[in-house]
């Protein structure tokens, strides 16, 4: 178990190193001189260009530049954002909190509701509810989140004027206390619907398939023969045994938490990491883009590791299969 975990950790670290390398090379392979990107396309004296080149270490060989880049990353120095006049890491972390404020409730709702609906529809397969839910799943899975956002704005903000169209807080009056919390909640509803609609589709699909699979296992028949009620069979026997794929999807979602709302944030002008990402694309702020990419990769690796670890903790069969894999 521990050996397995460390092996996964090792490969996770290797992955991060590879991504960082790719990241570095992409920037180096970009057409055009990086000095031009730094000082702009103005006629500059040669001495000044040479000075900038030395200042940013661009006169060093590629290997030395790479070593410097990695050393800086490890020390938490992700570079400097000229567009925002700020160091990249604090900038990213500051924006990340708004993204998490939106994504974490989204993930929680999608999982609780998704697993609940999966169990209910698995019990009454091909019923009205099952057909309805599976159509909704298909629609949620195919709907571009940014378009869903626009449609929601058109209906609930423009048409009915029930909810604000964009932002995180009201601009004119800035309520505090309970009123402030309600104001934040009102701004959150529409983006939250967009986040949940896609995630719940995946959760439902995976959880339902897993539950249906477990329902046909022998131990379920045994429990039924012992006179356990159908409800208890479902919630106490089937569901815990069907959780592993759900945990894997949960880990995947937590891993992608920072970047899965880029499009939704753009629609609703939510001040999170997504809007920062899009703004940095527009202003060619490469250090920020790279910083987000590196951080996102680290998160994905961590999310996967966490899911593997939790799955092994809750399900002895996963631990066993790890032992089997070790022996191959």
């Amino acid at each position: 178990m521990r050996k397995y975990f460390f092996r996964r950790l090792f490969w996770g670290l290797v992955t991060i190193v590879v991504i960082v390398t790719v990241n570095f090379l992409i920037l180096k392979l970009v057409p055009g001189d990086p000095v031009t990107a730094l000082i702009g396309e103005y006629p500059a004296p040669d001495e000044y260009i040479a000075q900038v080149r030395v200042e940013f270490g661009l006169d060093e060989p590629l290997t030395v530049q790479f070593a410097n880049y990695v050393t800086n990353l490890v020390q938490g120095d992700f570079g400097y954002s000229f567009a925002n006049r700020k160091a990249v890491l604090p900038l990213i972390l500051e924006r990340a909190q708004y993204t998490l404020q939106l994504i974490l409730p989204g993930i929680a709702i999608a999982f609780l509701l998704g697993v609940f609906l999966a169990v209910v529809t698995a019990v009454r397969r091909s019923g009205v509810l099952d057909t309805t839910v599976s159509s909704i799943v298909m629609f949620g899975y195919s709907m571009p989140s940014f378009w869903l956002g626009q449609v929601l704005v058109l209906i609930f903000a423009v048409g009915l004027s029930w909810l604000p169209a964009a932002g995180i807080r009201s601009v004119r009056v800035q309520p505090t206390g309970v009123a402030g919390a309600l104001d934040l909640a009102a701004h959150m509803i529409l983006p939250l619907i967009c986040v949940v609609s896609f995630k719940i589709a995946i959760v439902l699909r995976v959880a339902r398939a897993s539950v249906v699979g477990v329902m046909h296992d022998d131990f379920v028949t045994t429990a039924r023969a012992k006179g356990v009620s159908e409800r208890a069979i479902m919630w106490k026997h089937v569901l815990p045994n069907a959780m592993v794929p759900v945990i894997v999807v949960l880990g995947y979602n937590l891993g992608h938490a920072l970047t899965s709302s880029i499009l939704v944030e753009t629609v609703f002008a939510w001040p999170g990491l997504g809007t920062l990402f899009v703004k940095s694309i527009a202003s060619r702020d490469y250090p920020v883009l790279q910083g987000i990419l590196v951080l996102a990769t680290v998160m994905v690796v961590a999310g996967n590791l966490l899911a593997d670890f939790v799955a092994a903790l809750v399900d002895p069969r996963v631990r066993k299969s790890m032992g089997a894999r070790r022996g191959e």
Partner: protein, 271 residues
């Protein structure tokens, strides 16, 4: 001829595809309109003259909507084909070689699965500039792992079957056996994945265009949505129709993909 039993959903999906292709083939010759032609009818709501209204430069939204079929379908099918090709090559190579090669290739595949695809695609396109070929290449480079995993599994299974040894006894080379005997028997599940990949590629292209990462000289649904975002409060028609088009196309791909998946692997159909 007997039609394959891929289910009502998949046929609906195919009908949606056919509808878009018909629109694309029929509308330009019938109306003779230019999707990029400017006019003085700025931001006009839908009317008999402009079925889907006009945008901020007086261009006809319906004609742009129809022209957008080209970009989305080209990107979707080209990216799915390229993704499948890369996946088949990598997966077949790993599965057939086995041993250390398999181990290394699978580790690399796992690494690719961890990469946040959308973020990296956006960064690459932002740095290298937009362009359809680039978008297709980026998708192919990032989206092949699921295909590779499926093909590897199939190749591992098929290479142990007796008929492979029979072919070997006939004196054919290993390369011939892999290319002519094993891969043709292993590709069936890829069709389902490839159809789903068409939808994912169309969605990715639209998302990149929505962020402004598209070629300004091409009309694409994502680009229309991106421009429509600025006029959302005053001109709902600019983004509503192209968004509906993306939704319907991706839905069609998912329907067809699921249908083919169930048809190819009937055991999975019951769940």
């Amino acid at each position: 001829m007997k039609l394959p039993n891929i289910g009502a959903g998949a046929w609906t999906g195919l009908a949606i595809f056919a509808g878009f292709i018909l629109l694309y083939l029929l509308v330009p010759p019938l109306t003779g309109g230019n999707p990029r032609a400017l006019s003085t009818d700025l931001l006009q709501p839908p009317s008999p003259q402009h079925l889907f209204g006009t945008d901020e430069l007086g261009r006809d939204v319906f004609l742009q909507f129809v022209d957008g079929v080209r970009i989305s379908f080209t990107v979707g099918f080209a990216a799915a084909a390229a993704t499948s090709l890369v996946g088949i090559i990598v997966g077949a190579y790993a599965g057939f070689s086995g041993g250390a090669v398999d181990l290394v290739v699978m580790r690399i595949t796992e690494m690719f699965q961890v990469i946040p695809t959308f973020v990296l695609a956006a960064v690459i396109v932002a740095m290298w500039g937009p362009g359809l070929t680039r978008v297709v290449v980026v998708i192919a480079l990032l989206a092949w792992p699921p295909v590779a995993l499926v093909i590897r599994g199939e190749v591992l299974r098929i290479k142990r079957l007796d008929f492979v040894d029979a072919v070997r006894c006939l004196g054919y080379s290993e390369g011939y056996i892999l290319l002519r005997e094993i891969i043709p028997n292993a590709v069936r599940p890829v069709f389902a994945l490839a159809t789903l990949a068409v939808g994912q590629a169309i969605l990715l292209e639209a998302s990149l265009s929505f962020l402004g990462l598209s070629d300004p000289s091409q009309v694409s649904w994502g680009r229309m949505l991106s421009l429509g975002q600025s006029y959302l409060l005053t001109a709902w028609w600019i983004s509503t129709f192209p968004g509906l088009a993306i939704f319907l196309t991706v839905l069609a791909c998912n329907f067809v993909g699921d249908g083919i998946g169930a048809y190819v692997n009937p055991k999975g159909r019951k769940s």
